[in-house]
């Protein structure tokens, strides 16, 4: 099903309205995206592997006006510029103009096309060369009321700088369609840590896109997707390792209950030599919660000495919980240090439970200990102790409330 005439007119009109005061470069991007949104289909479960378990075709776009009732709160340490689209000035504006839409292309699929056609509150985190941000950049986005939301975050760092960005998404109980996009451009020798906390409302469906474009030498990226709530939280995350020595660590953690559905597609794309990537995605699922993981590690012809690892672990805490896991390796050079992957899905280990019980710990408490140990491992990879405690606190609240 392509878009209906009604939808088409509505997207074009809303796009024009939102873009009334766009600078020329943004107007071009928006206009092209609006045209793409018109011609592209929703991703197809049969033709697009990342959409195998998630059917987008039933989405009725007319129900989601691009109202953009989105609250944004930002805290930034000294030396780091954080500006919203339309307010960027000078060099930051130039960087934004050069970066926006280049890592995650508008034409990726219909969701990204709609995202760029209807973009408004784009944020750029601009870190100058040789800057070590003293504290994390905090971005809190809150979406209220039925709508199509298109939050966009661009992170650009100069050479040899370090920054941590914590972005939190939340929404109210309304029927919300969110398409968050993040584009990360680490400079040479710089390090970006980007932690995303999903605290969507119970009726929000989020289809997110993220790409780290590691074009520069020795760029390092660490990402965490912490999924605490949302009706559907789907993410398509890519790390493109082009620069020599570029490295990416992708972490994901979901604690699902009720009918929550979490679905991630990841791509660890080794293109340049001496590149490293690691991935650890875990989900613990209660009730009828469901997790889907499909991940590709690709090692290209020029990616000599690549070191890649990919692990997906799922803990099924009820008979009706379900996890689908499919890690895939695609290696085109024989000159790799490591290319490994693994996937598991199963209930809490009976032998471990028995062992804990023989020490007097009742079964529910023993199970809780094992679940916590399973989850904690992922957040344990966050190097900053204070942030780690904060993230564990959020996770603990979800686990206790479930």
């Amino acid at each position: 099903m392509t878009s209906t005439t009604e939808e088409r007119l509505s997207v074009a009109a809303q796009s024009r309205e939102l873009g009334a005061s766009d600078p020329a470069w943004l107007a071009r991007l928006r206009g092209e995206a609006a045209r793409l949104a018109d011609t592209l289909d929703w991703p197809d479960s049969y033709q697009s592997r990342p959409w195998k378990y998630c059917n987008a075709r039933g989405i009725d776009l007319a129900r989601y006006p691009a109202e953009h009732d989105e609250g944004i709160a930002v805290e930034a340490p000294e030396g780091v510029t954080v500006t919203t689209l339309g307010f960027a000035e000078g060099a930051t504006d130039e960087r934004l103009a050069a970066a926006l839409g280049t890592a995650v292309a508008p034409g990726t699929d219909r969701f990204t096309a709609l995202h760029y056609a209807l973009i408004r509150d784009g944020l750029i985190v601009d870190v100058p060369a040789n800057t070590e941000a003293a504290s994390p950049v905090r971005i809190r986005r809150t979406v209220s009321g039925q709508q199509f939301a298109a939050p966009h975050t661009v992170i650009v760092t100069g050479p040899n700088s370090r920054v941590t960005v914590v972005e939190e998404y939340s929404s109210d109980g309304a029927d919300i369609l969110a398409v968050p996009v993040a584009e990360v451009f680490p400079g040479p020798g710089s390090e970006v840590r980007y932690y995303v906390v999903h605290r969507w409302g119970p009726s929000t469906r989020s289809f997110g896109y993220q790409r780290m474009l590691g074009a520069e030498r020795d760029a390092t990226f660490q990402n965490l997707q912490l999924v605490l709530s949302g009706r559907v939280v789907k993410g398509q995350l890519e790390s493109s390792l082009l620069g020599r020595g570029a490295a990416s660590e992708l972490l994901g953690l979901a604690y699902g209950c009720g009918e929550e559905y979490v679905d991630f597609f990841t791509l660890q794309d080794h293109i340049g030599p001496d590149t490293r990537s690691d991935l650890l995605y875990k989900a613990a699922l209660r009730d009828a919660a469901r997790s889907v993981y499909y991940g590709l590690t690709r090692v290209g012809l020029e990616a000599k000495n690549a070191d890649a690892n990919q692990e997906n672990r799922n803990l099924l805490l009820s008979k009706t919980a379900r996890a689908d896991s499919d890690p895939v390796l695609e290696i085109l050079t024989s000159n790799v240090i490591r290319a490994s992957h693994g996937a598991t899905a199963g209930p809490v280990d009976e032998e471990q439970l028995f062992y804990l019980q023989t020490r007097g710990i009742p079964r529910p408490a023993a199970e809780a200990m094992l679940v916590w140990a399973f989850l904690e491992e992922v957040i344990g990879r966050v190097p900053d102790a204070a942030l780690r405690e904060e993230l564990l606190g959020l996770l603990d609240a979800k686990v206790r409330g479930a």
Binding site: G360, I361, A366, M369, W372
Partner: protein, 250 residues
Amino acid sequence: MTALLEIRDLRAAIGEKEILKGLNLTINAGEVHAIMGPNGSGKSTLANVLMGNPAYQVTGGDILFKGESVLDLSPDERARRGLFLAFQYPVPIPGVTLVNFLRQAVNAVRGEEVPIREFREKLFSKMELLKVDPDFARRYVNDGFSGGEKKRAEMLQMAVLEPAMAILDETDSGLDIDALRTVAEAVNKLMNPSMGLLLITHYQRLLNYIRPQFVHVLVDGRIARSGGPELAEYLEARGYDEFLAELARA
């Protein structure tokens, strides 16, 4: 006087396979018993069944602890009543530190929150007794432990939990002679007149360090012979094959 542990005509199976075929054994407070037996005689099954491992089914008989049947009790209820099993193969639990685990275990067994200071003092004195490094407590339970470290960790748990009845399943396996001596010394110090001890072992070696008053030989799911410490020496001298042949002739 009620026996501390009384096993009556115990029968147990894994799946369709019956392993314990009518086992009788009585242990009073203050007694040390050893069960020896060849591989496959049911030694580890007995340990697991006493502790209530759900992987085994009790098909007959009874287990009385302090005069009451424990068959309907979960493993944690049995532990809270004072039963303890030192595992032959302690299970690694990545992500759970030994100190956190022991604190939860002590609280559960005591049925109350033990003040952290009191707990730490106890833990460190017992660690000294077992000659383990203070860093040990911060490691994940049995995760990446050497064979000797695993067995010491089991003894540390026993020392901290102070059970009324401890079952030591092949505690000597995987220990070198120094570690064996340390572990045995600790067990001897922990043993007291109100406590019972059941040593399950394939070899006589452990019994040189922890002296049992009673030795039982388990063959094909039953106690084939009981005696004093001399029975262990007799077995060691003859070997299980000859002992089994002798039983067959009798």
